[in-house]
Symmetry: C2
Subunit: 317 residues, 2 copies
């Protein structure tokens, strides 16, 4: 994968125009109590308030709206049981095209219902990656739908990049941004927007210790896949994508890993002081900032609250 | 208490100017998923995002900022273990005047700490109303501080009225507003703003079944005090105030009472779809709307999310 193929500033600006009516321009929240406790100024980009409750709506919308006319008719497909599935289903619904979502048989009912609510067709498969991929291939070959990868896709990356672009525009001279790393879609987009629109602002990756493939890949200089991830941050258990890794390798300033206990603590502070519901993955960037806060005394730091889709019956407090 | 003494439109406009730098103009949230489920358009005024996490900051600020010069020096006092205590403490801190808060010995540590964090002096007393009142009298006679009642006070009512005024200004021709009733401070303010600035818009009171003194008082035509309130909505357990009752009696369109189960269900929907943290009391107006939603098909209804200070360790789900 060559770095010369990555989205340009123009690609991200086009994505922003394209998805304007499909997404919310989410607000930036601050809390004087949090600032006092942390000893710096924190600007939270509230992607938990995004449509479908996560930033994923940006990338999915840009991918759908970038399809060629002949592709549109046949619709889109993906395998996911998470926020990308809902986002792609809604983006397809808004574009009035079919969506086919491959989900594991053991996916929670509530997630299946959410995807169906947006009019997508759900195709069940065994609960393993091989079954997901083979079922997806069957669906694509039968329907002619275009596969939209949740993160390893340049249109998706350009879409996710719009979150950091907005954050940079809506704040004044941040000293850095903390963004989570799962597959690397949001992270690579954040890095590109910081380069293009943020005067090469420092961007810090935030990763759960129990799914630290990005940290290890970055240190090793080669992509190491995650085996048996174990973290409460279910949205960040995936391995880095092929297109995402080189962007992270080139531009990330540092990667900070955090324990589940640190994630839960950050989540509690977000609930308590911001009065916002975030999922565990959504609290990982703030947990990382809390860990290294002494390096940022009195600075202005952006933090992306990437999603809010948590099972209320399973809150960790 | 005469209705001719109640705050005028001018009083509320002056309150709005006065408190401008002490409060947030909170945003109005909507959710297309909630609108679909409920069958009407709901506009949530997010007072859970207000300073100190509740609308109480409005009334407390207006009361402090309405003090005469000679009163200011001696500060303010109240008895409360709830949001009014924190609001008065912060308003006093911002005005650089002393605040004395009488709290029961068994008040949760976190509430005591919150009040002290704003620089107020906490005076403990026995955990009953008589002890609270006598301790408050002692404090007032010793310090010369002005007692700011949490709701039975016209400056407080005028301050609380600004929430509905903003909601009316930030939406387009609502068909009605649902507002909670505890002591009646927010409710009477909401009613006045609907009269003055909302073209006499219908306002519906929302009350827990387990603390339904407003409903019973309204039906009886005389103020009936609440004995042994029993509801999860701890912010609404108080009895209607003397100054609040006549305003409610004159202007309220209807009062809808809800069970704790209905409150919890509404609270869950607010967490799930709006991604907002609300306390049980904050969910009571939406619970009431859910109960009578069929009477408002396709209408536009404002709902005041009055507070978000919930103990995360005791969420009812």
């Amino acid at each position: 994968m060559l770095l010369k193929d990555i989205p340009t500033a123009h690609d991200i600006e086009k994505a922003e125009e394209r998805i304007e009516n499909y997404i919310h321009r989410t607000p930036v929240f601050t809390s004087s109590q949090i600032n006092e406790i942390v000893g710096l100024k924190v600007y939270f980009k509230t992607e938990n308030l995004q449509k479908v409750g996560a930033f994923k709506m940006r990338g999915a919308s840009n991918a759908v709206l970038s399809l060629k006319k002949e592709q549109l008719k046949k619709g889109v497909a993906t395998h996911s049981s998470g926020n990308h599935a809902q986002a792609l289903a809604l983006a397809a619904k808004l574009s009035k095209i079919p969506a086919y979502i491959v989900m594991p048989q053991n996916a929670p009912d509530v997630k299946v219902a959410a995807v169906r609510q947006y009019g997508a067709e759900v195709i069940f498969c065994e609960a393993n990656l091989e079954a997901r991929e083979s079922t997806l291939r069957e669906v694509v070959s039968k329907t002619g739908a275009t596969f939209i990868h949740p993160y390893d896709n340049y249109d998706v990356i350009a879409g996710q990049a719009t979150a950091a672009k907005e954050l940079i525009e809506d704040t004044d001279h941040l000293n850095g941004i903390f963004s989570p790393i799962g597959g690397g879609g949001l992270m690579s987009g954040t890095l590109l927007s910081a380069q293009y629109f943020g005067n090469k602002m420092a961007v810090y990756g935030a990763e759960p210790k129990g799914a630290d493939d990005a940290y290890r890949s970055w240190k090793a200089g080669e992509r190491i896949l995650m085996k048996n991830p174990a973290t409460i941050a279910d949205g960040l258990r995936t391995s880095l994508g092929e297109r995402n890794f080189p962007i992270i390798q080139k531009y990330v300033k540092d990667i900070i890993t955090v324990s589940d206990a640190e994630i839960v603590e950050a989540m509690k502070m977000i609930f308590q002081y911001l009065k916002l519901v975030v999922e565990p993955s959504g609290a990982v960037p703030f947990a990382s900032l809390l860990k290294v806060k002494n390096e940022f005394k009195n600075k202005k730091i952006g933090v992306i609250l990437c999603g809010g889709n948590v099972d209320l019956a399973k809150l960790p407090f």
